[in-house]
């Protein structure tokens, strides 16, 4: 009976393995979550009333958020969809936040205190156009407040109370390019101004109540218009002519339009290049940007344009705010010499400063990009100002009273790529007193824990235990730990800033705005592309710091020159940077390192030439003998061509450059353009470790996995099936998947899924690929798995030969030996659509794998690879059951407990990165999107270590009690024996 119970217990324990879950009090122990909003586009302050002062912002990541002005915390936040960009925000009625988004087609109102959606209106127009949102500034709630939204060529008047569209007027029919919609406060007339074919100026007057046209005036301007216009005051507009050399001042009051031309050269002497009107609304003033200066000019009452100031340094201007009936002010922020100069000036008097402050600022923030100011009344009834500043690194900070009140690192919302670095090794010489204190604390902690285990803890103790667990100093130390949980996550962001985050608590260890990724004369639009570990010292170069390589590009096209930057991973200093002449379309880390443990990299340029880095003779001497075994391939997704290359010899265009190698085309796979279009591809991770080549199946039989790094998974669909779901019928859409050997170009496996279509997401690991696509016939998402096995090794089954080592299983293999492979595959339905998919990776590759799926709900789901096993059958045999094969079901289960992100959301999820810890059972998972999330996973539970909450004190106590018991019983037995002998 006892045995059977025991067996049942064991079975129960092993079945618990299926789901990964954690208890409520384990949240935050090994995971952290950080919320960001991205680079701020618009900001509206809400500070009129006493109480919580807040600012509502919209960002380039389609986030609208309400921030606490005191601390910069998020009160509420909404992340709109990827194609729902916010065009404008404002506050109406003092309680609603109005957003216009999606190219002006959706108008929404959110409740200001808690961010709930109050109403939503869909504005329909006929053609895309400029979008404008005009919210009247009246605070009288009783009056019917109309919101004017201009979008898609239509002007809509929307009730701010319930979002009902009161009237609409179409301008698209007249093909008018509307530039401005103006409603002066308290007036009933709306002015709509625009160009027709860019040389005829139109001005409409519209009744705001009913939308009737009151007046329509047109004036021809033969010089033509270009670019945007700016409203200077209630009835004056400035614009540029087609040549961008003449500034036009347009007066449109009283139904008449007057032009006045001003040569820009009369304002600025040496203005070449493109002149732009900056969109800052400065009331009677406007700002022009030339190639050298920022020019501030004023339109006088007589309509003359006069120069106010030329500013040489890069500066940012805010919109003007009104302080009183007659006074308006704006802010000017410049960044020089590690200081931020914040000046507030009244609009009418340039020489006066309302406020002048210099604030010390971190040098790694770059220039000021945007300023939003807000005023408040100080206790002495003078005006105080606070400013929200958006810097070049996308950070958002509030300055007030000469200091930075808070700063948000919102650049982290745009992570492009991630790599990791080990922390320094712990040095000897920790002082004794520290140890003693630590020992005491350790003991105290464990006694508390023991109390908790024995259910003796009071509620305060429980709180203390939880706090101790969450704030354990152990996890945020700056040294390497035994289990390899503590690492540096080095992330490259869209702003060209590199951050090092500590995996323990997610704090920023260092940050660096890369000089080479900033706008310069050499490089107009630098963008960061990838980040790679460059130098990972472990054996003989331990005294050197590890470093990372950042690869970037000047400009959007593939053949733009590349940028390389080398950064010390411990200190965050830029060690070196190169602005190479060649372009970079691919970076191939090679499996060789030089004597200082720098990894050799091949950078492939747009002409498929390979360039070797580091540029040292040593690297060349390592590379040259291996050159005939190094291959690279290029995928032209648009043309459907895959080409394989090998080095032909040194570059012909530059004989002196011995680090450059010309390509020789070896093979090409050309897909028929009319029936197949490349939609997804996948390769194995470069650093993936595979423990064994054999897969033991039921009855101790063995199958040999085909493990090759040189495999490419490619998915193509019919051109019709590459669009949105539903754009193609099942008959005209299909999905074809290929497994291609990238050395020889041989197609190892090809399979067609009829009636399926993109989007396809794939992950490749060991000998299997899992991909996700849409099945049009079943109207559901599907996931398929393909496993590849090597048939040519299948005969290696003689035990005797294996015992004496007479086999060829470990001898090097070549792709030219044409291995015989067989592929097994199976498909399952899957409920969610998928944003990203990856697989866990562990140090030695022994632990079973889990797929990590970024779902449409911005969560990460862990799914055991065992569910995606092509050997699943409906009724597995006993042996197969013992092997762990799950009976086949048509769909993959989604177990709520297996959400890695538990209750949290990683808004705008874009990528999941897994990094092996030193402990074999454990893998580190970093998920990025607008938010960041990090956690530790053990796909087969932590079989190689005790859990965090293991009570050492209880263990010690038990051991001590046992020893005492042994002694006591020994003494007893001695005594008893003596008595026995005397009897």
């Amino acid at each position: 009976m006892a045995i059977r119970t025991f067996v049942l217990l064991v079975l129960f324990l092993s079945s618990m393995n299926l789901s990964f879950s954690l208890y409520e009090d384990q949240v935050g122990l090994m995971d952290w979550h950080q919320k960001y909003i991205g680079k701020v586009k618009h900001a509206v302050f809400h500070t009129q009333k006493a109480g919580r002062k807040r600012v509502v912002v919209s960002t380039e990541h389609n986030v609208i958020a309400s921030l606490d002005l005191r601390h910069g915390d998020i009160y509420w936040r909404h992340v709109l969809g990827a194609d729902d960009a916010i065009d404008g925000i404002d506050i109406t009625l003092g309680k609603y936040v109005i957003t216009l988004s999606s190219g002006g087609s959706i108008l929404r109102a959110w409740n200001l205190p808690d961010g709930q959606l109050v109403w939503e209106s869909v504005l329909k127009g006929s053609k895309p156009s400029k979008t404008m949102l005009i919210v009247p500034t009246s605070f009288r709630v009783d009056k019917e407040n109309l919101i004017l939204a201009f979008a898609e060529g239509c002007l809509h008047a929307v009730s701010s109370v319930d979002g009902e569209i009161i009237w609409r007027k179409d301008f698209a029919a007249e093909s008018l390019d509307v530039q401005q919609v103006i409603q002066a406060p308290g007036e009933e007339t709306i002015h709509v101004l625009g160009y027709l074919e860019s040389f005829q100026f139109h001005a409409y007057q519209i009744n705001s109540r009913k939308g009737d046209e009151i007046k329509h005036v047109t004036v021809d301007f033969p010089g033509g218009f270009s670019g945007d216009t700016l409203l200077v005051s209630g009835d004056v507009l400035v614009a540029l002519d087609a040549t961008r050399s003449i500034l036009l001042t347009i007066f449109f009051q009283d139904g008449e339009i007057n032009f006045r031309k001003t040569q820009i050269s009369s304002l600025v002497d040496d203005s070449h290049g493109v002149v732009e009107i900056l969109p800052s609304k400065l009331a009677d003033m406007f700002a022009l940007k030339t190639n050298k200066f920022l020019v501030l000019a004023r339109v006088t009452d007589g309509g003359k344009v006069e120069l106010v100031e030329k500013i040489k340094e890069a500066a940012a201007l805010s919109d003007a705010i009104s302080l009183s009936e007659s006074q308006q002010a704006f802010a000017l922020v410049r960044h020089e010499n590690e200081k931020l100069h914040f000046v507030v000036k009244p609009v009418h008097d340039w020489n006066m400063d309302l406020l002048k402050e210099a604030i010390k600022i971190d040098n790694h923030r770059g220039r000021v990009h945007k300023v939003f100011i807000n005023n408040y009344i100080r206790t002495d009834r003078s005006h105080g100002f606070r400013a929200l500043i958006v810097m070049e690194d996308h950070s958002l900070s509030l300055i007030q009273q000469g200091e930075m009140v808070w700063c948000r690192e919102d650049g982290l919302a745009s992570v492009i790529d991630v790599t990791t670095s080990e922390l320094p090794v712990e040095k000897d010489g920790v002082s004794v007193s520290k140890v003693e204190q630590n020992l005491f604390e350790w003991l105290k902690g464990h006694i508390l824990k023991l109390k908790g285990t024995l259910m003796l803890a009071s509620p305060e103790d429980v709180a203390a235990i939880q706090k101790m667990r969450l704030k354990s100093s152990e996890k945020s130390k700056m040294t390497r730990d035994h289990n390899g949980f503590r690492k540096l996550l080095i992330v490259l962001t869209g702003a060209g800033k590199v951050f090092a985050l500590h995996t323990g608590d997610g704090r920023i260890v260092w940050s660096l705005l890369l000089q080479s990724l900033r706008k310069s004369e050499k490089c107009d639009y630098p963008t960061g592309l990838r980040i790679y570990p460059w130098q990972v010292p472990h054996h003989h170069a331990l005294d050197e710091n590890p470093s990372v390589l950042v690869v970037g590009r000047c400009g959007p096209s593939d053949d733009a020159p590349g940028l390389l930057s080398f950064i010390d991973a411990y200190t965050g200093q830029e060690l070196n940077y190169l602005v190479p002449v060649h372009s970079v379309v691919q970076v191939i880390p090679l499996p060789f390192t030089d004597s200082t443990e720098q990894r050799l990299h091949l950078l492939v340029d747009a002409n498929q030439r390979a360039h070797l880095y580091p540029r040292s003779p040593e690297a060349l001497s390592i590379f040259r003998p291996e050159i005939s075994n190094i291959y690279w391939y290029s995928v032209e997704a648009d043309n459907g061509i895959i080409r394989g290359h090998v080095s032909k010899g040194s570059c012909s265009y530059n004989e002196e450059d011995e680090y450059c190698f010309d390509p020789k085309d070896l093979w090409s796979v050309v897909l028929p353009a009319e029936s197949e279009k490349i939609v997804a591809m996948g390769t194995r991770k470069i650093n993936e470790v595979v423990h064994t080549q054999a897969k033991v199946i039921a009855d101790q039989d063995v199958m040999y996995k085909y493990i090759s790094r040189n495999l490419l998974f490619l998915a193509t669909t019919a051109p019709k099936g590459s669009g949105e779901i539903g754009s193609a019928t099942p008959e005209e859409s299909w999905l074809v998947v290929y497994l291609i050997d990238t050395i020889t170009g041989r197609i190892l496996h090809r399979m067609t899924h009829q009636g399926s279509q993109a989007p396809v997401r794939a992950v490749f690991s060991e000998n299997w690929v899992v991909y996700h696509y849409f099945n049009l016939r079943a109207h559901r998402y599907e996931m398929s798995v393909v496993e590849i096995y090597d048939q040519s090794r299948a005969d290696n089954k003689d035990v005797l030969k294996l015992v004496v080592g007479k086999h060829n299983l470990t001898s090097p293999v070549s792709s030219y030996s044409r291995p015989e492979v067989i592929a097994k595959s199976q498909s399952y339905f899957f409920t969610h659509s998928v944003k990203a998919i990856t697989v866990t990776s562990t140090a030695k590759g022994i632990t079973s794998k889990q797929l990590l799926i970024g779902t449409i709900g911005d969560q990460v789901l862990a799914l055991d690879k065992r569910y995606l096993d092509p050997r699943r059958t409906i009724n597995p045999t006993q042996a197969e059951k013992e092997e762990g094969i799950i009976p086949l079901t048509d769909s993959l289960p989604i177990i709520p407990q297996s959400y890695v992100t538990h209750a949290l959301k990683v808004e705008g999820l874009r990528g999941i990165v897994t990094v092996p810890a030193k402990l074999e059972s454990t893998t580190l998972v970093f998920t990025y999107g607008v938010d960041l999330f990090f956690t530790r996973l053990a796909p087969s539970r932590t079989y190689d270590s005790l859990t965090e909450d293991f009570s050492y004190a209880l263990l010690l106590l038990t051991i001590a009690a046992l020893i005492v018991a042994i002694f006591v019983t020994w003494i007893w037995s001695e005594r008893k024996e003596l008595q026995e002998k005397w009897r």
Binding site: E626, V635, T692, N710, L809
Partner: protein, 180 residues
């Protein structure tokens, strides 16, 4: 049996052997009582003793056979335990299997000792010994068989190849769609 040994070994400090069988005069320092003829006693006794000895030898042989057959019971017991423990690897089945392996081995090591009390030049001990050894070997075989059913014996190809690392590849390649 164990207990008796223990008592004999350490319990008594001295003893007199009343059955003095020695016949040589020199070894005897006490003269025989009057009218006591040792020779007649010997003659008289020999028949009785022979009978006794025969009985003892019989008894010893019988006992030896019993001892030799004892592992059979053990075997049955072990078989039952093994059947109970099932064929999955866990603490209980491993414990049983290892005890099933250990018992015959230790028994085989002590074959001589087990049969020592029945040593007699009149008793044929070889056959019981062989039976004993055979039965223990049977137990050992049962244990090994159990080990095999648990899958703990490296008798399959999978046991030898799963520790082999994947073969190295001669070629190395990289690439893909242009970075963006």
């Amino acid at each position: 049996m164990e207990k008796g040994k223990g008592v004999m070994g350490m319990g008594r400090r001295w003893a007199i052997d009343f059955t003095d069988n020695s016949t040589s005069l020199a070894s005897r320092d006490i003269p025989d009582p009057l009218g006591f003829s040792r020779a007649s006693l010997d003659q008289e006794d020999s028949a009785v003793t022979r009978q006794k000895k025969d009985a003892e030898a019989n008894w010893k042989a019988q006992k030896a056979w019993e001892v030799a057959q004892a592992p059979f019971k053990n075997l049955m017991m072990m078989g039952f335990m093994m059947w109970m423990s099932g064929s999955t690897v866990h603490l209980f089945s491993i414990g049983i299997t290892f005890s099933a392996l250990w018992q015959p081995i230790s028994a085989l090591q002590g074959v001589g000792k087990v049969f020592e009390p029945y040593k007699d030049n009149k008793v044929e001990l070889l056959v019981p010994k062989l039976l004993y050894i055979a039965l223990n070997l049977g137990g050992l075989a049962l244990g090994v068989w159990k080990l095999n059913t648990l899958g703990l014996l490296p008798t399959h190809a999978s046991d030898w190849v799963s520790s082999l690392p994947p073969a190295q590849e001669v070629e190395y390649s990289g690439g893909g769609i242009p970075l963006h």
